[in-house]
Symmetry: C2
Subunit: 368 residues, 2 copies
């Protein structure tokens, strides 16, 4: 794997040099992990003049085994505890003779940025912008295979839950049960706070589980994901509790299903992100649900659960092959509940069979 990280750093160095900075400081944790293979707590990565250095707050032998960085990197620990690795890295850059250092202005706070300026007053601080996030957009097959395993784990956890008795159990308990099953099947942990929403809560995006119990006739919507070796996927499904769903439930489900399918079918290399959003959104719009829709119908996933690209009306840019995204439209009717359907897919050319569905749990409306 070491060559992978070295190649990523090399691509970043080219971008940074093209932007006028011979050195760069990466502080956003997911970005450090992407370039260094691991991100010990508080660590930052310096792409230096002479060599690249991972500056860590604590000695590595105090870190967990899964926090081992790329062995090709020099690792330096802060001389005194409690310091800021970014400030130390700026000092290193200055000591290496650098004149300019590109930093992640969208991640560094004003106070930290000022501290960098104080420790290395002659260093011109530039902006690296979201250069690393842009490198992270298109995944290699190794990254996709980690997402695929994560999705399998989430599918499995969900399928086991569906076999158990649900009526009378609280949202909180079902969420914890799902998280336990994720770990049972090999996840590092949940990719994000598992959402379980019943009755009037169902279909609410990002709903935090409450003590409400599952009742007959409820919609039940769940959204969960596994983190697997750092990579995070997402699946969301909505079910009905009881033998036969009400007419309004079937209608609403079919509508959201149609919107989600339209979004999935729009996932082709070269498609504008806003067009994918529109494909899903207009199905809901034309049925009269334009009010109260979520601002996005999907987003990229990877080392973070919510990363670029964004599938939204104002989104810029186009999709590329090998970009994993969620497609997750939903409708929530205040007081009644609603439906969300959410898959993680990888954009693939039509010649390769079109979008690759990672989360394969059925999207039929199941009555549980």
């Amino acid at each position: 794997m070491s060559e992978v990280y070295a190649a990523r750093r090399e691509r970043l160095r080219e971008r940074s040099s093209a932007g006028g900075s011979a050195t760069a400081l990466v502080s956003r944790p997911a970005n450090v992990r992407y370039l260094a293979g691991a991100v010990p707590h508080g660590a930052v990565l310096l792409l230096g003049m002479d060599e690249d250095v991972l500056v860590c707050a604590d000695p590595l032998d105090e870190q967990s085994a899964d926090a081992r960085p790329d062995q090709a990197l020099r690792v330096q620990t802060l001389p005194a505890p409690g310091g800021d690795c970014a400030v130390a890295a700026a000092g290193l850059a200055a000591a290496q003779g650098a004149e300019s250092l590109a930093v992640e202005e969208h991640h560094l706070t004003v106070a930290r940025h000022r501290a960098l300026g104080s420790v290395a007053p002659r260093l011109r601080l530039g902006d690296l912008g979201t250069a690393v996030e842009q490198l992270r957009l298109i995944k290699d097959e190794e990254e996709i295979s980690l997402l695929r395993i994560g999705a399998e784990i989430a599918d499995q956890a969900l399928s086991e839950l569906l076999e158990s008795i649900l009526v009378g159990r609280t949202e909180r308990h079902l969420a914890l049960e799902l998280e336990r099953r994720l770990v049972d099947h090999g996840a590092d942990g949940p990719a994000f706070t598992t959402s379980v929403a019943t009755g009037p809560n169902a279909g609410r995006r990002g709903h935090r589980p409450t003590d409400r119990r599952v009742e007959e006739g409820d919609f039940l919507s769940v959204c969960l994901g596994a983190a697997y070796r750092g990579y995070r996927c997402e699946i969301g499904r909505t079910f009905v509790i009881g033998t036969s769903p009400a007419d309004w439930q079937v209608e609403l489900y079919d509508l959201v299903f149609a919107a989600q399918r339209a979004g999935r079918q729009a996932l082709v290399p070269g498609a504008a992100c806003r067009e994918v959003d529109r494909a899903a959104r207009q199905v809901l719009d034309s049925a009269g649900y334009s009010e109260g829709l979520a601002p996005t119908t999907g987003h990229g996933v990877g080392l973070e659960i919510d990363e670029d690209p964004r599938l939204a009306p104002s989104a810029m840019g186009k999709l590329d092959a090998c970009v994993p995204v969620t497609v997750e439209p939903g409708v929530h009717l205040p007081g009644r509940g609603g439906v969300r359907i959410d898959d993680t897919l990888v954009v693939r050319p039509e010649a390769d069979g079109g979008p690759e569905l990672l989360t394969i749990t059925t999207k039929e409306l199941l009555a549980l």
Copy 2:
């Protein structure tokens, strides 16, 4: 509760005015929650010229019930989704006629700070510093009672775990089991990632649970906490697995216990934070364990699990009454394991009985 939040905002307004800014923008989530009673996702609080405004990214009816802010606050939602509430708040301040706005430079990123400057170019941006964090240091009795309930929940979850069979189970499973029990007993959720460490991992600070299974003769150290209505506490204990601990285990345990007791006994109003740290640290030092000790022996708790004050050799400041802190020295011997003992206590005057221990699980060395 509304008067409580209004009074907190009034105290902050006084500090901000004294610093030369008639208006202030609070963006750090725990600080927003402290002053507004809730922090809907992405929300910021403007202490304005005319009135205080909670600027939210989404309409409140899309938020969970536990995210309801102080009803005395005006709530404003962003006109378009995807915007930055802090930028909108700066625009509001300018529209109210403010000339200066104090912001949290230790929380706002360089990029957001610049966006504030662009939307309101005539507004002089100052630094609010850690004014809200300083207000949060001393807790009122209502806050302490929430911490007390959280500590009871954690004690209960831990005591139930101790009654179950441990040998053969993995760190990950035990951690999840503890988190489930926290929720069972009424916690919002875990206050932080539960740490379960066995054998050679035992005693490592912040150890992330692995697939290692509990074995006879192991040290087992656990650290957990409940979040209860936003307030977070912490308890850590170390046990021995099997009928009788080895001599080195008893010795190490007694030593850490003595250090932790010395730290607890040093918790008096007016004590220097570094003296509390020293009280605990010198016990370990004088037994030859000065190398590899954690940089702090304790820290404040409240709306965040790790807040001021810091009990460390370089810490400034003194303890006040009604400040809740952890006391958590530990020793980890690489390859062998170790011991951590961690309590949450509230500093109280001697006349009131001295430090109030919130986490009451026994600190005898139990063989499980």
